[in-house]
């Protein structure tokens, strides 16, 4: 039998390990090689039993029951369960009234699906820069990009932090255009007591098994504020013969996961706070910024580096980041870049072939730009100076694992000499000089 049950528990942290030689230079790693696997999603007997029970129901009932339970959790008006996050974003745009050739404003920093969903809706994505503290869409940049052909603004609640919805809502209302959320990272994220997915005229959300709220493999859900928007999306599927349906297998798994979501959210928040306090004590590393009144879902945890705090201000920050990355990975903390260039610099938005022969970009040539990374200086600066924890902190990991992550960052931050040595010996390139990567 193949099982994910761990072979042995992770040892409790030991302060002596912090002063030991770095793993990259021959010392012992903070997290030993055989104990690095992070289990996610957490699968319990309830999930198994729920799948068994679902077999006794009809597929439609299982999917509808799941969608209604989650709609109520989010507090959205209407919901359409889908096969993926991309398809949910596509339907959210359609429901919000986006038509072929329309312009939709999206952030230059997101997962590529945000922009591809716009193309799927036969519309044209217009990319704008992000806020330097939240990494979400900059409302001023969005305002500057609005034209007569703009039909919607689609902010992304990046990594699980809600975007500046009040400012973007006001902007959309001022211009009579729709606000469509990409809430794919933001399960249970909130502004005040309102949950992401219920802020906009419509929203799309991925529910794939690597998200904070995982379904059985792949899935997504579109939310709508009005019956009219919901009807427009449902009719669109029918009219165009598109199969975006969710499998009952995925939905049944999600139903039992939903019951435990608040529990896992609490552990994620606890671990994020624990790590944040430890990072802020290192000088070199800084925790994500969370504006007052916002609840971060921590689907990803982006850490900022300030090399000047440890006497490395003469080195390029992106080179320091690469060296730190190497050192952390050696210690058993698989930090990542997660994106290395703005989305408009990815091949599909450089070549703009779309569905073929340039469609739908050909519908609105005035909206198309040949972008370079420096067109988005805030995004570029963030990519140069940050590293990300993904599943390592998304999973409700053991307390001792969270402590060991904190120790690994502290151990690396104590060694600016080692960072300098790697930078001087390394052949590092700026992130955007490498081939564009999905994550």
């Amino acid at each position: 039998m193949i099982t994910d049950f761990p072979s042995r528990p992770l040892p409790l942290p030991n302060a002596d390990e912090l002063a030991a030689e770095l793993a990259a230079f021959g010392g012992d790693a903070i997290i030993p090689k055989d104990l690095r696997r992070t289990l996610f999603p957490v699968i319990t007997k309830e999930d198994v039993f729920n799948l068994m029970l679902a077999q006794r129901s009809t597929p439609q009932k299982v999917v509808d029951g799941f969608a209604e339970a989650y709609r109520q959790y989010v507090g959205a008006g209407y919901a359409l369960p889908t096969a993926s996050g991309t398809s949910s974003l596509h339907l959210a745009l359609v429901g919000a009234g986006v038509q072929p050739g329309d312009e939709v404003i999206v952030p230059a920093f997101t997962f590529i699906a945000t922009a591809q969903a716009v193309v799927a809706a036969h519309a044209v994505p217009v990319f704008v820069d992000i806020d330097p503290r939240t990494y979400c869409m900059d409302p001023q940049a969005a305002a500057a990009a609005i034209t007569e052909r703009t039909r919607a603004i689609m902010p992304v609640h990046v990594h699980g932090l809600p975007a500046d919805v009040p400012a973007l809502r006001a902007l959309a209302d001022r211009h009579g255009i729709a606000l469509v959320e990409d809430a794919s990272h933001a399960h249970s994220a909130k502004i005040g007591e309102q949950v992401a997915g219920s802020f906009g005229d419509a929203a799309g959300q991925s529910l794939m098994a690597d998200k904070n709220f995982p379904l059985g493999g792949e899935g997504g859900i579109a939310f709508f504020a009005t019956a009219e928007a919901h009807g427009r999306a449902a009719d669109y599927l029918e009219r165009h013969g598109i199969d975006y349906g969710m499998s009952w297998v995925a939905a049944a798994f999600g139903t039992s996961q939903l019951a435990r979501l608040p529990h896992y959210d609490e552990i994620r928040a606890r671990n994020a706070e624990l790590l944040g306090r430890a990072l802020d004590g290192t000088g070199l590393f800084h925790a994500p910024h969370v504006p007052e009144g916002h609840t971060h879902a921590y689907n990803m945890y982006r850490i900022t580096l300030t090399p000047d705090a440890v006497g490395l201000d003469d080195l390029p920050v992106w080179a320091v980041k690469e060296a730190v990355h190497e050192l952390l990975v050696a210690e058993g903390v698989p930090a990542r870049e997660w994106q290395n260039t703005p989305i408009p610099c990815h091949l599909p938005f450089q070549h703009r072939d779309g569905f073929g022969n340039g469609y739908p970009f050909t519908l609105n040539p005035g909206a198309v730009r040949d972008h370079r990374p420096e067109d988005f200086p805030v995004t570029q600066g963030m990519l140069d100076s940050t590293l990300v924890l993904c599943r390592e902190l998304r999973a409700p990991v053991e307390y001792e694992r969270a402590l060991r992550y904190a120790d690994a960052f502290a151990k690396v931050a104590r060694r600016p000499d080692a960072i300098r040595k790697l930078v001087e010996a390394g052949d590092y390139r700026r992130p955007y000089e490498k081939a564009a990567r999905l994550g």
Partner: protein
Amino acid sequence: MELFDTATVLTRVLTSGVVMSIEKSDRELPGLERLLSKQTGRAKAVLVNSRSAAVHTALAGQGIGHGDAINRPGLGEKDRAFLAWLGIELREDAAEGEPVAFDHIALDAENAHRLGELAAASTAPALVVDLTGLGFGPAAAVLTDDPVQWARGERLKIFGAYDLRTMWTQEEESADLVPGVQFNYRLSPLVAACVRMALGQAKRPLTTSGAAS
């Protein structure tokens, strides 16, 4: 498939802890790909999450896109609507016997045992196999002998990536194969595991004997 068998398969996959298509250690999706290749006699399989995704994959794999026209007689209203959404025209002037762009088989519990036979009758460069009728939710596959068509299909379904297991970190070496529009057409390993067992167990239904009639 018996409820007990479905329960066993689902429990087995859940116990493995691997329910994500992009998990490095997933064995369910490659297992279904191998089975479909074997049963249809085609070299390559692209698994996707619906019939319309498979039609899109079959055409995009051949480089057919918006503004192009294809020969494919006999399509129903839903498929015709989907082709129109893709911006692909159905040729009405094709001569009889002219090659078709793709063939299509819809499997269910009644005909799943005939997949090999049905596939053998197909001559199109891409074979769309709709697996939804097996009862585990929307699922489909595109079978082909053409490695380029397969490579394009894989990239269409996972945002231009060519391997689910390394999709986050891979660097593209064949930029000409990257599609302009990209989707998440990925199939769940849980669904793939159930489909695989259903296909593996598919047997010719018992026929009634002459004595009983």
